[in-house]
Symmetry: C2
Subunit: 343 residues, 2 copies
């Protein structure tokens, strides 16, 4: 069913039918009603391509996902973010275009998406070659929002990110308040923006209490179970082992737990562990791991937010550049209760 057919059916012009359906005020309510009903019963859906050719708007937002092996940990987060964004798009009649691109083809991809008119705006994932990308996008002049941040860029750009610094400051404070003085940090790769911020929050909290951060209690690596295990094992075997761990991801926490139990200790009883990213949905699954969020649902929220922001920028081009910092919450694993105090 196309507009022409529908209009002939109603003995109206295509113009009127189009106006009626698109909510233009100059249509009488009676005809509007008639048109709406006819459209409904005959299952009329305007052809997206024709419409966007006529209007000049693509009615689609592109998500660019860099495909680099170093970013495996980003995957689970990505899916939740996408789910949140997708919700917003479909609520506003927008489509979501997904481009998975190797790092070296990113520039081309951005330019193509712009030139081919496939999208009205972009969401940039996993900022990495951040400075270049941001500069490029500003030059191309397409509305975009970055999921995450790039510390090394000085140009203004819109982003949505977790407040990693604050989250880790709070987590550290939490452990300090419980009496812990030797806290280990099992962090993500040292050159990742979020890892840098997390470490900063950790050290800030220690500094406020006059505690010298020990390099021997900090590790930076990919966030997997095995790296978490290796790091924790090393820390626990040292001369002055930690009484508490701060883990950047739930997977690291699983590895830490293994190292702890291997020594005949128990996590949550003998040694406190707090995690940030709940990237496996542990809270949902009620695992016995205390989690200092960025839960999966909060990632979904971030997606919703970012999507809302691009749509706003797309619809009113002069929108101010917004930068949103989401706070994490402290949530304790179901069966653990508050972490116990240890000297």
């Amino acid at each position: 069913m196309k507009l022409k057919e529908l209009s002939e059916l109603l003995n109206l012009s295509q113009t009127t039918v189009s106006r009626a359906l698109n909510g233009y005020p100059e249509v009488s309510e009676s005809t509007r009603k008639r048109v709406r009903e006819a459209a409904e019963t005959h299952g009329y859906h305007p052809n997206t391509r024709a419409r966007s050719l006529a209007t000049g708007r693509a009615m689609a937002i592109g998500h660019v996902l860099p495909l680099s092996s170093k970013h495996e940990m980003m995957n689970p987060v990505f899916t939740d973010f996408i789910a949140g964004a997708g919700e917003v798009y479909s609520a506003h009649g927008y489509d979501m275009l997904l481009s998975v691109v190797p790092d070296e083809l990113q520039e081309r991809t951005y330019r193509d998406l712009r030139n081919k008119g496939s999208v009205d705006g972009l969401i940039v994932h996993a900022p990495k070659l951040a400075e270049q990308r941001i500069h490029l996008l500003n030059e191309i002049g397409i509305p975009y929002v970055v999921h995450g941040r790039a510390s090394d860029s000085n140009e203004p750009y819109a982003w949505v990110d977790m407040n990693n610094t604050h989250a880790f400051k709070r987590a550290t404070d939490f452990l300090l308040d419980l009496g812990h003085r030797r806290i280990a940090l099992v962090n993500g790769l040292a050159d990742m923006d979020f890892a840098i911020r997390r470490r900063a929050g950790f050290e800030e909290a220690l500094a406020e209490r006059g505690i010298e951060p020990e390099a021997a209690l900090v590790s930076s690596d990919e966030m997997t179970e095995s790296t978490g295990y290796a790091a924790a094992r090393g820390f626990l075997a040292g001369p002055a082992p930690p009484t508490a761990f701060l883990a950047s991801s739930i997977l690291s926490a699983l590895g830490i737990r293994r190292a702890i139990e291997e020594r005949g200790l128990r996590m949550g009883r003998d040694i406190s562990v707090i995690t940030h990213d709940d990237d496996l949905g542990y809270l949902q699954n009620r695992a016995e791991v205390p989690v200092f969020t960025a839960t999966r649902s909060s990632v979904r929220d971030a997606g919703r937010l970012a999507a809302g922001m691009v749509l706003e920028m797309v619809q009113s081009p002069d929108t101010a550049v917004r930068q949103v910092l989401l706070e994490s919450e402290l949530i304790l694993g179901q069966s653990t209760g508050p972490a116990p105090v240890f000297g």
Copy 2:
């Protein structure tokens, strides 16, 4: 830069320029070269919407991802699959449209995608209400490929799936060959298609050796660390504990390992564990878990394959319905070596 401008620039008709760029044979090589170069230097990119309005082809494939809380485990797999598919699309000039939809809106989504002409074909993820969806899609008459299968559908449809039955038969045989006689199966949710097939393979292998499968050594649940732990813990505490475990996911395997170590035993030395889905990229990360594949890269292959299949169906509508079964490989974790023999 639009076609009209480019053609005026070259003193050619839009038609000729279009034909030159689209590789039509009736253009002289000299003009084609001239046109190509001009297009290149002036950065001409045909507008996708205009082109697809004219041709009737959307030049896009839709991926529909049902958003149900029960399918959390599908997420990591999804990302890899998407990455593989995305590769194929961009190589063929197709876009990927992603729709994340709640279960109850799926029918509408399919119909809309069709009616609005947004896509030429579909990939269906996480078959669940499978029978209905397949019937619906056949009725709608849009080319589609299912990622996974639906045992309960008797209509023909194209799919790409892992050979779960065979993989678990082989894994079980592997353990049986090592001398194991009491093998536990920690499986996914009982009503999931893949879980049913995996169990079938497991039981088939046992039956061939005249071993009665014990219900007490089989668990069916979501595939998380904590459910794996709970199941393994229960099995190990029983009167006749297993000497080996078969886990449906690497996360379950992690939980199994915890239960094993909690009893002062060691995985790979005292008790053998084999996993199927490497959904966390453990092989890449060199964790000490033997994996009976479906590695992340094989999932990516599945994505490539499925994408190729839809494109084929889209381009030649009379393609026969293809159904592809991918075999898993046995891969042993880096530092484990072959599982030891136990009575």
